[in-house]
């Protein structure tokens, strides 16, 4: 009985083998396409398509519905399709000084923080490059370790330092420097510290990678010809580390502009940044069309820096 059923349902071996061989041959000949198509498809669906939906919603109107916005395409009577694009959301953002000021404030904070990261990160990266063979990997490890620790907890650690009853105020009062605690937490100052603290490794690591490749003989030649260290730095080292400066600055500037957690935790309600406004618009007011328009404008502001970053990434990959 069993033999019979097996004969019935299992195709004979002779026919099955070529089938497998055919599949294997197809894998052998087309594996490159398969390898490329899978991640490509994933990114198209889960990265690119969502942006188009956001763009679509930003051109819709708020509606009392689920989801809360109107459809762009409507079918009227005799199968005539009308497309309604509403630019009201963008006009609203442009005219409402709250949004405009928030964009400006976000850019002011992120540009200042990028500069501060560069100012302090550059000598730190340079110091690591100049360290001995034993100290160098350890120092690099010390810079990378905070980068692996939770971002949220690193921000939280500053809440304990900056609070009215926090470590810094307690210390200063104990030392008799001040009588009343200085208000630091929930101010713009705290946001600057938080961003510089959490984004500094993103500045140091590309700078380090860039400086590591520099040829010291150029500096020695300049010194032999009588150039002073400062002169050598501005004429040789600084221009040669420009790719690292650009990559590091963009890695700090772009995400810092849209930062949500740091202004929320360290700035409280007192520091307006666009990432926070976007999040609140979306979750509390549930005005999706305006939130989508805010996101599109933010993306529009950042698209140029993102493209510059991609260009440098591509060039760096080719040079290797």
């Amino acid at each position: 009985m069993t033999d019979f059923t097996e004969d019935m349902f299992e195709p004979p071996q002779v026919e099955r083998q070529p089938m497998i061989r055919l599949v294997m041959r197809r894998i052998h000949s087309r594996w490159r396409q398969i390898v490329t198509v899978i991640p490509f498809f994933w990114l198209l669906v889960f990265f690119l398509a969502p942006f188009f939906i956001v763009a679509k919603i930003s051109l819709a109107e708020l509606a009392i519905a689920s989801p809360p916005f109107t459809s762009l395409i409507e079918w009227t009577g005799d199968g005539i399709m009308t497309i309604r694009l509403v630019f009201d959301n963008f006009v609203y953002i442009w005219e409402d000084s709250l949004y405009f000021d928030t964009y400006v404030n976000s850019l002011k904070i992120s540009v200042t923080c990028t500069f501060l990261c560069l100012l302090f990160g550059y000598p730190i990266a340079y110091a690591i490059v100049r360290s001995g063979p034993v100290a160098k990997p350890l120092l690099l490890f010390a810079i990378i370790l905070p980068f692996w620790t939770s971002f949220l907890l690193r921000v939280y650690s500053w809440m304990g330092l900056l609070a009215d009853q926090g470590t810094i105020n307690n210390l200063l009062i104990a030392l008799g420097v001040i009588d009343e605690p200085i208000r630091m937490l929930y101010t713009e100052f705290a946001v600057y510290i938080g961003i510089v603290y959490t984004y500094m490794p993103f500045m140091i690591l590309p700078l380090y990678a860039n400086m590591e490749k520099l040829d010291n003989s150029l500096n020695e030649a300049a010194a032999d010809l009588g150039s002073k260290p400062t002169n050598t730095f501005f004429k040789i080292t600084l221009p040669l580390t420009m790719p690292g400066i650009v990559a590091g600055s963009l890695l700090v500037f772009i995400p810092a502009t849209g930062e949500y957690v740091i202004p929320d935790l360290l700035g409280g309600g007192n520091v307006q940044m666009i990432g926070r406004v976007l999040y609140n618009e979306f979750s509390r007011n549930s005005d999706w069309p305006v939130a989508a328009a805010v996101a599109i404008v933010l993306l529009f502001i950042l698209v140029l820096p993102i493209m510059v970053f991609q260009h440098y990434q591509g060039k760096a990959a080719e040079e290797q």
Binding site: W42, L145, S150, Y156, Y197, Y260, A295
Partner: protein
């Protein structure tokens, strides 16, 4: 200023390391504080650790976060490796610029934009095909894979360009088919990058708050979402205890990864020296 570190650089380095580590050290010290008010010292105690281990809310958040992190790391490593291979080894193909762009963009894209766009995507998808009916594990994992695979791809690309194509070419000359070369040569050569890519994707997922907050649904709280909802209202000693445990776990993981990478580098160096000796 030249071959040696100047005094200025040493001072900057010391200040930088102090800036990095003092907040973390204080965070750890205050986790052993008996007092309910974090900055007021009330004597050494393990009170907050005890409270932490008794909280069912914390345990379920830890479990959800770990599950997401493991699934995410595995898929992101697979997809990121394929993407890295395509970018480095396949030369020019149709859509390469778009592909490369989509692969690098998640590295710098502000999280609020990624989170918002994925949420509206999931909602539209639900209206179209009825999936995902509710947001939580699946939606967070998909969102995490999408941005983690970019980081894995960067790691893989660096390793692929680092090891070069000599061995692959040799295998092909000896008659190995392209697919055989991939499985017998390329993938084994990539092992250290695969391990560090997996670990990177794992920690990125454990760390993410903003994207997860957007794409999660009611009841599905990851660990960062739980921590954030608590510290928004101010300092909490139990969060200090949780932070200490997380810092410890991550430090151990990073140390292990560093040792693996260091050994691999040394093995590579030895291989190269042996090869040079045989040649001469």
């Amino acid at each position: 200023m030249y071959a040696k570190r100047s005094r200025f650089l040493t001072i900057m380095l010391t200040l930088g390391l102090a800036f990095f580590y003092i907040p973390m050290i204080l965070l750890v010290i205050y986790s052993f504080n008996y007092s309910k008010l974090v900055p007021v010292w009330g004597g050494w105690s393990l009170r907050w650790y005890k409270e932490l281990f008794q909280s069912a809310e914390v345990w379920s958040a830890v479990s959800l976060s770990l599950q997401i992190a493991v699934v995410n790391a595995t898929f992101a490593t697979a997809l990121g490796t394929l993407a890295g291979l395509a970018m480095v080894r396949f030369g020019r193909f149709k859509g390469r610029t778009l592909f490369g762009g989509m692969l690098v963009a998640p590295l710098v894209m502000p999280e609020v934009i990624t989170g918002l766009s994925l949420l509206v995507f999931f909602i539209s998808l639900n209206q179209l095909i009825g999936w995902p009916a509710e947001r939580g594990f699946a939606t967070i994992t998909i969102a995490h894979i999408t941005f983690s695979m970019a980081y894995v791809a960067v790691t893989i690309q660096a390793r692929l360009t680092g090891v070069g194509q000599t061995l692959e070419e040799a295998a092909a000359d000896l008659g190995a088919k392209p697919f055989k070369v991939l499985t017998a040569i390329t993938i084994p050569q990539l092992t250290p990058a695969l391990i560090s890519g997996w670990l990177l994707a794992f920690t990125l997922s454990l760390d993410d708050l903003v994207i997860a907050s957007f794409v999660t649904g009611p009841g599905a709280n990851t660990l960062p979402i739980l921590i954030f909802s608590r510290i928004r209202l101010g300092l909490r000693p139990d969060i200090n205890a949780l932070a200490t445990i997380m810092i410890l776990v991550i430090a151990i993981c990073v140390a292990i990864a560093a040792i693996i990478m260091f050994r691999q580098q040394r093995a590579d160096l030895l291989d190269r020296q042996m090869a040079e000796r045989e040649e001469s």
